[in-house]
């Protein structure tokens, strides 16, 4: 029963409320929800909740808190990178894969450094932002090195490259900026600036559009009975409440007086989320500046990473199913108590099987940018988000800034779903 209780709600289900609040722009409430989730989280999920909370803090402009959360999560993820815990391996195999501590995808690790960089920069800590830029460049090299050209197109994180290049520009290191912009141009040609001029007075705005895809647990559950040479039973397909009958080499019906095998085959499905906003436009000093350009398709990156992992995930799910069904029949030739114990254990383990639905769910589907030369003095900007039919679905907060002391004004607006 404890095991069943342990695994009844998936990460995606637990996150649903806070996730919706976040995408509705109700950051304070999303933060309160995430505080509760983090406080109740097991050690296996705790640092993932910190990522979610760090992202909400960033949207709220609470940069110090964002840095604390993101850094704590990053430190842990780097500590456990490329390592395994034997106890977690066994628990994952016997119960379900959520028994292992969460290890982020490569693009998620890159995004941690990217958001950290932004948090330092927006807080006004230039040196801190430059250090994060150095970390980010190392991460980009580490996680994208060795990818085929095709994989690089999907798994690179051009937003991270853009921000790193921008920091080099701000520091006056035009050559280093050029290297990152060239890497950006390979993946996202429209987003790369045509000229690199650290002294040019420019406004660079980033915004996020849409929701990251989420994983849901897809489960095929059923019950099989052996009757002489025949195999019969029923199973439930994902999303169906109607049982499907199954009979192999026999037309007999199920009876309760014969032992049977309970099985579950659970795997994650990655679901792209519906978007209300499909494009957006920057408004500066009351005038339309133009459509913001897509710089990063994180939805595709997350989906590609999921697809690459899927064969192994399915193999592991099949192995779990096999182990749990074998356990239910392993005691057939043993004494009555052993037989019952193994049968109950196998059935309980089959019942608690779930897919691992964990992922960083407050990431956007897409990141867009707008870059323009800007005159010195005070300005104000906001972003209008448009739906499929060209209707305005959301408007960002207005941000006021002054372009007097710095040649590059970088703004980050969390965006619309």
């Amino acid at each position: 029963m404890a095991l069943i209780a342990l695994s009844c709600a998936t990460y995606t289900a637990k996150m649903e409320f806070s996730r919706d609040l976040y995408y509705m722009g109700r950051y304070e409430e999303a933060l309160a929800g995430l505080n509760n989730l983090a406080a109740d989280a097991s050690g296996r999920d705790y640092y993932l909740y910190l990522l979610e909370r760090g992202k909400v803090n960033l949207a709220l402009g609470q940069y110090d808190s964002a840095i604390v959360d993101l850094q704590a999560a990053e430190r842990r993820f780097l500590d456990i990178e490329a390592t395994r815990s034997v106890s977690e391996m066994f628990a994952s195999m016997l119960i379900n894969p959520t028994m292992s501590e969460y290890q982020p995808e490569a693009h998620e690790k890159i995004m941690i450094s990217t958001y950290l960089l932004l948090a330092y920069w927006l807080e006004g800590d230039r040196e801190g932002a430059f250090v994060e830029r150095n970390r980010l460049v190392e991460r980009l090299d580490r996680y994208t090195k060795g990818l085929s050209a095709e994989d690089l197109m999907a798994l690179d994180v051009p937003f991270a490259r853009y921000v790193a290049a921008l920091m080099y520009e701000v520091e006056g290191r035009a050559d280093d900026a050029r290297i990152e912009y060239e890497a950006l141009r390979l993946v996202s040609p429209e987003a790369a600036p045509p000229v690199i001029d650290p002294s040019l007075r420019e406004l660079i705005v980033f915004t996020e559009v849409g929701r990251a895809p989420v994983k849901v647990s897809t489960e095929i559950r059923g019950y099989l009975q052996k009757d002489g040479g025949a195999l019969l039973g029923f199973f439930y397909l994902p999303g169906s409440t109607e049982p499907q009958a199954f009979a192999l080499a026999g037309l007999n019906s199920l009876t309760l007086d014969k032992p049977g095998v309970l099985f579950t085959f659970a795997f994650p499905q990655c679901i792209k989320q519906r978007r209300t906003a499909v494009y957006c436009r920057l408004v500066i000093d009351g005038m339309n500046a133009g459509d913001m350009i897509p710089v990063d398709d994180l939805e595709n990156t997350a989906y590609t990473a999921y697809k690459k992992d899927l064969p192994l995930t399915l193999l592991a799910a099949a192995f779990r199913t096999y182990l749990k069904t074998v356990a239910q029949t392993a005691g057939d030739d043993k004494g009555k108590e052993t037989k019952i114990a193994l049968d109950v254990l196998g059935k309980t383990l089959a019942a608690v099987d779930r897919a691992d639905t964990r992922s960083w769910q407050t990431l956007p589907a897409e990141i867009r940018t707008f870059r323009m030369e800007c005159t010195p003095g005070a300005h104000e900007v906001f972003i209008k988000y448009y739906g499929e039919r060209g209707e305005v679905v959301s408007i960002s907060n207005t941000v006021k800034f002054s372009l007097d002391n710095t040649p590059k004004q970088i703004l980050f607006l969390p965006g619309a779903a």
Binding site: A82, T83, V86, F130, N134, R135, E138
Partner: protein, 198 residues
């Protein structure tokens, strides 16, 4: 079976004895815990730079040319951090300043005491203080030399192996001429190998 039960009980007993323990670490023999910048590196950098300064001859030459006077120096705000770690680089500079002052090599202007000193001077110039014993205005000493530097690193991470090369380069330049009077570097490279299991 009995053995298993006894073992579990022993383990539980040992686990129950767990608590916080604190021990003093000798800084001079301290070693780094990982390939990242560590407190042990501070010692290594200070020792390396101080031995270079001692053998460089600039300070002895300055004293000889200026009737035994020590050069007046200023610390740069911080050591420029070109690494991928958030390091309190001011600490490195201050550690070297402490050694230079204690070894009688130079005098330093306190760049961070300006506002406090100004406040005190203004207060003491007021009627609240005995003006005959108050600190005099107009006696700040300008630095002729600045101590500054850069810390950089090159990191390579492959699987569980983390290789980190670090370099600290420092110099003293003359404010009037921009001539570098002393410069040196300390470099080190460390590799950390994580275990497969945690």
């Amino acid at each position: 079976m009995k053995l298993i039960v006894v073992s579990i009980m022993c383990l539980a007993l040992v686990a129950g004895c767990g608590g916080t323990s604190t021990k003093e670490i000798d800084i001079s023999t301290d070693t780094a815990e990982s390939s990242d910048f560590a407190s042990a590196d501070l010692q290594r950098i200070t020792d390396g730079m101080m031995s270079s300064i001692a053998t460089n001859g600039f300070f002895q030459q300055y004293a000889a040319q200026n009737a035994g006077e020590k050069p007046v120096m200023l610390l740069a705000k911080e050591l420029k951090n070109n690494t991928d770690e958030h390091i309190n680089t001011r600490l490195i500079l201050e550690k070297i300043r402490t050694r230079m002052v204690n070894e009688g090599l130079a005098q330093f202007v306190d760049d961070q005491a300006f506002d406090l000193a100004l406040e005190q001077l203004n207060l003491q110039a007021s009627d609240l203080y005995d003006n005959t014993k108050a600190a005099q205005i107009g006696r700040f000493v300008g630095a002729k030399f600045v101590l500054r530097g850069t810390i950089s690193n090159i990191r390579k991470v492959e699987g569980r192996t983390n290789i980190n090369y670090q370099n600290v380069t420092m110099d003293i330049f003359e404010v009037e001429t921009l001539l570098i009077k002393w410069t040196d570097e300390v470099e080190f490279k460390r590799v950390t190998e994580k275990g497969s299991f945690r």
